[in-house]
Symmetry: C2
Subunit: 144 residues, 2 copies
């Protein structure tokens, strides 16, 4: 998660909402990425999507079996769906998403639609740090 | 929808699950794409994601306001999330997704999380044709 936070800080440096993601398989980092939505003017360029894209290209496979994804913020439905579609084994996230009216993680990652369930858990150790990063960013934006 | 079906036929030609998508804005087609998951070995390469990616690049914007997306099959959670994230106004789909235990379209497209709701409807006129395309494809796969 520390490396995902470093990715999030890169996003912040570019004026993006500070969110980072890292994918690990067999104890090795196979992809890392940060949010580039504003800079690249693309709705798909969330940290998780960019990391999954890199990982699929690296492994030359759409299946990321036995991989774990670390994300500094609880994924949105698009990213949770992508994590599930890529058959990622486990998601570990930092800050919780508070703006949602649904528990999308549970709904999407535990759905029976793919005969695949992605395990998920909050990283209690880094939750506060990930959350503070986002709070500080939005506070600064509001001041402007 | 006829153009989305033509896209789906291109996917079929390449041995991919026949799914196509078209994005229209101001009465003009701004993007079209078909499923390339197997060929490109990438979990993200659903027709909708590829079409949204093209449309964002074309408009140089992550917001596809007032756009309509036509898809031959009811989108999965990843694609429904992407449609919502891109602020697409309306989704029209052909065949219904029957393998899902949740009404993900309603849950994701009508969620209050983004202050954006994407309207959606089934295209009754083309439902049968889109559905038959998929049935024939899977029948052939099973025979093999």
């Amino acid at each position: 998660m520390e490396i995902a936070i470093k990715e999030a800080l890169k996003a912040k440096k570019h004026g993006e909402v500070p969110i980072g993601a890292v994918i690990v398989k067999d104890d090795k980092i196979i992809a890392k990425a940060y949010n580039k939505r504003e800079r690249k003017k693309n709705a798909l360029y969330h940290a998780e999507i960019l990391a999954i894209n890199k990982a699929c290209k690296k492994l030359k496979s759409w299946r990321l079996d036995n991989a774990t994804i670390y994300v500094t913020l609880e994924p949105c439905p698009m990213c949770a769906g992508a994590i599930s579609n890529a058959r990622i084994k486990k998601l570990i996230y930092g800050a919780s998403e508070k703006s949602s009216d649904q528990n999308f993680l549970e709904l999407i990652l535990s759905s029976t639609r793919l005969n695949h369930k992605t395990l998920y858990e909050k990283d209690e150790q880094y939750e506060q740090q990930c959350s503070q990063l986002l709070k500080d960013f939005f506070k600064k934006i509001r001041k402007k």
